[in-house]
Subunit: 276 residues, 2 copies
């Protein structure tokens, strides 16, 4: 069994995966994507920062460090093809991605996972290492959603699943049955800010985040952290519902503390068995 190679975007999760892999006795090497990975997060670990387009350099590092398994973790923004400046290997991979370059994120990431598999690596999901970061269904924290909030969660599930089938986004904000905002490329935090502006004071509102139907969990799993709760509170919402087993929490205790402090509910749901 070789080492674990971590292809790292932003945030604290790449280092958490490294820690969990090492705790399992695996060796670890992190490739930090230039402009996305946070050097201070990677500093304690063997790592190198690499441009997104430098696929040749990445593959050679992964082979040098005898990585057999790969984890893609941490947000990156889809770069423009023009800014990518691929090296020779990068150009070869771009050619193999072909039409997937113009697909939604799922299509692109699924193609990337397939190609990395063809290169001899086993691509694993971050959730396979971070089992503590994945919640079972149930209420976290002290506040429970009331029946109005549960109806909004139900409507949010319908909306996000319909969007997800189109490979668009993973989230929406619902208030009293009304869809205030829907997430596409801008990300959850910007959607929350927008929802806050359309939001009617005192009238509820929930953020719903789910895995897209059919989405490969090995790339771009929904993620929430304390800042998600802070932004939901700023937007005037009453709580956050996310998919149990299919969402990574960057800081579980911190999420619960923020929810309790703001009086928000935080609930992990199974969307196929959610009852109002």
């Amino acid at each position: 069994m070789g080492g674990v190679g971590i292809l790292a975007g932003g945030g604290p999760l790449p280092a958490q995966v490294a820690e969990a892999a090492r705790a399992q006795g695996r060796s670890v090497f992190i490739i930090g994507f230039d402009g996305f990975a946070e050097p201070e997060q990677l500093a304690p670990w063997p790592h190198e920062m690499v441009r997104l387009g430098a696929a040749g350099r990445m593959l050679s590092l992964l082979h040098t460090h005898k990585c057999s398994d790969l984890v893609l973790i941490g947000p990156i923004r889809r770069p423009s093809l023009r800014s990518l400046c691929p090296d020779t290997e990068g150009a070869r991979i771009l050619a193999r991605l072909g039409r997937a370059l113009f697909a939604g994120d799922d299509g692109l990431l699924a193609a990337l996972v397939r190609i990395l598999g063809e290169e001899g690596f086993t691509v694993r999901g971050a959730h396979e290492f971070l089992s503590a970061a994945v919640a079972q269904p149930g209420i976290l924290g002290c506040v429970a959603p009331d029946s109005l909030a549960r109806q909004d969660i139900q409507r949010g599930i319908e909306v996000v699943q319909a969007l997800g089938c189109l490979d668009i986004g993973q989230g929406c904000v619902v208030q009293n049955g009304l869809v205030l905002a829907v997430e596409a490329m801008e990300g959850t935090d910007r959607m929350l800010a927008r929802a806050g502006e359309c939001h009617q004071p005192g009238a509820g509102g929930v953020l719903v985040k789910l895995l897209k139907p059919g989405q490969d969990k090995r790339a771009d799993m929904p993620t929430i952290g304390p800042s998600t709760l802070r932004n939901a509170s700023k937007a005037g919402l009453r709580g956050v519902a996310f998919e149990a087993a299919n969402t990574l929490m960057t800081d579980r205790d911190g999420c619960i503390a923020e929810a309790d402090k703001a009086g928000l509910f935080l609930i992990a749901i199974d969307p196929t068995h959610f009852a109002v």
Copy 2:
């Protein structure tokens, strides 16, 4: 045949409906919604500004001015129930709206049209008066969409129809098959601004606007004006596709002039018969 009562939100369309109705020999009275209707637009016409919640005052004005037909036209924002301060008649109508108050815009407007019908009025669509503002399928202006843009239009049709089935929004922005932004409560102009920030320079991008499947054309028809073209251009898009026969153009010549000036295509499409 009585007069035409116009319940007016913002923009130039209420006055255009008044002009078209008078040209048909009808008398006209405009009720401008406080905070939304633009007094300078209504000034040439018999009108009164009324709070949204003052339904009693509205009905009494419509009866005094012998209006038999009503047109709801021009954008308003959904008010909070708290800010509505309904008069006695307003409270009675709110009670009749009941659960529709918590529906999407279509649900709410359909209920309102039904209640106005029960009050003895015939609710008409603005498009019945403004036939010149409604385009037949085809390219307006000098620029035609290329095959990449036509593929993006096709993807946008799928997305907006799926959203529309959920009574969410009427528009989205697609670039090279990727959905950059999806419209919910924030409106088209804000969606365009957001899409501009996720947009990859030089790589296309279209705005697609459609009537929601099953939407009543008598309320909240999709509308485009010269500012839509200006904002699409600022966002770096290559063109705008809108539903023929089901979109109001506030200023047809102005839209075409803006499109030509910016080198954008402007195309009226039939979404059920659009061919890439």
